[in-house]
Amino acid sequence: MMKYCKPLLLVLYCFLSVIFNNLYAQNEPVPLSEDNLKCASCHGSKYYSFTNPLTEETNRKRMNPFFIIDTARYVSGVHRSFSCSDCHSYDYNSYPHPSELKLEPKFSCIDCHGGDETFAKYQFDKIEEDVNNSAHRNAFGTQFKCEMCHDLHTYRPVARDEHSKIKHIVVQDNQMCLNCHNDLSKYQVLTDHNKPELLTTHSWLPNQELHFLNVRCIECHTPTDDTIMVSHRILPKDQAVHLCSDCHSTNSILRDKLYKYAAQQSRSDNGYYNSVILNEAYVIGANRNKYLNIISLLFFGAALLGISIHIIFRIIKKK
């Protein structure tokens, strides 16, 4: 069985590579290395097989779903050039994996990215500071880790890609929250509490579905911060944005959040306030057109002038 796995995986990899290559043409995928293919032969699918040396039988088992790596997305992720053993112990090469490996401390993102000038533009140290002040870290301490939101095996900085559509950014970023907040089994990794129902806790939000599809959770659940692209200081729910006009106004906070990437590129405004938002959406209150404003004021001004003159003549005539 094992001898068919590799070719099958290769075929699967090639097939998915073609699809993902088209989807993410700007992010060239790299083929899985020999070492990674070995790990992916089990962790790349729902089932894995091994020969039991005691019975000499081939056993086929279900892979723990939390340990399955999406290899097609891995080869397009930011860490695609890494070997599994760069982060995980080399001892995982043997099977069954030695049980003491479970106790081995894992690398954190900051171990590689912290204090490194190569990654200065991503501001990892500021991110760490934000996370340390976030509602998650306050509630769960160091149990709460970067990888609980950012899947290190597949992560892509979609928002920093100029070809990305805002909707793709929204989907990826919201999925990070929904991974736990919409999945009880993952949610309860950190707590025994029941998971709040998102639709109920957000029932106050008008056009709920429209908001969920077009803006990220963090638009409301992080503070506006000019010093970093995305604030990682998740706020407690009572401090989240509840005021509609924070977004639905000329000085919309969306300009400094979801549209921050786009806002930094020079674009013509076509007479609209916050025109950068208009590329992919329309936010009532934030997207007024300056020229339509002027024209409407002229119309009303002319009508009021005409009415005023008519009234004056009516009064004079009455006398």
């Binding site: 008008p206 579905e209 509609c244 208009l278 992919e280 959406a281 209150g285 997207n287 119309f299 009303f300």
Partner: protein
């Protein structure tokens, strides 16, 4: 001078007109509040505005359908029809009456009768308002209420953006119409006479 009383506005029309007027006024106020919303000086809170705007929009839309049906099954619809031939002359004559003739005490060029309850300017402006502007704001309003029904992109622009701009333009012209309508209704010997007529149904000349 003999006092004539004409029954011009049947009860269904008066009820529709009253509800429609109230909805339109609330729609304009809440629409302006949403469109020109400011974090520091909100006229009405955005959430409240959305709620009132949606409610009044739905009521006014149902009212519009009732108005259309009413016009279809009664003879009220004939007052919103006009002949193109000689239209410009009739409009000009009525305009000159408002600007000059009214102050000189000249007789109305198009006296109100049971068959002709609107003058040419009223006829065309009411027809444009009810058959062009109101359908425009009703359709675009429904589109904004259910954005999943709107084309995602049209002519390279966001469908929601086009719909929202059309809705704003339609809403602006409805506001413009309302302002003129309210003033013109006050023209007469007694400024409140026409307002009374739409409440009682009777026009006094």
């Amino acid at each position: 001078m003999e006092n004539h009383k004409l029954y011009l506005y049947p009860i269904w029309l008066r009820i529709w007109h009253g509800i429609n007027a109230l909805c339109i006024i609330l729609l304009i106020i809440t629409g302006l509040s949403m469109q020109y919303g400011n974090i520091d000086y909100p006229l009405i809170s955005f959430k409240t505005s959305v709620m009132i705007h949606n409610f009044c929009g739905i009521v006014a839309s149902i009212g519009f359908v009732i108005f259309l049906v009413g016009n279809f099954i009664s003879d009220n619809g004939i007052h919103y029809r006009f002949k193109i031939r000689g239209l410009y002359k009739r409009l000009f004559t009525q305009l000159m009456y408002y600007v000059f003739g009214y102050f000189k005490g000249e007789p109305k060029p198009f006296p109100i009768t049971k068959e002709n309850k609107f003058n040419p300017l009223q006829r065309i402006s009411y027809a444009v308002a009810m058959y062009v502007l109101v359908p425009l704001v009703v359709i675009t309003g429904l589109g904004l209420l259910y954005p999943e029904l709107i084309f995602e992109r049209f002519l390279g622009m966001s469908g929601v953006q086009i719909t929202a701009v059309m809705h704003s333009i339609g809403g602006f012209f409805v506001s413009f119409f309302l302002m003129i309508h309210l003033y013109v209704a006050s023209i007469g010997k007694n400024p409140l006479k026409n307002y009374k007529s739409i409440l009682t149904g009777y026009h006094e000349s």
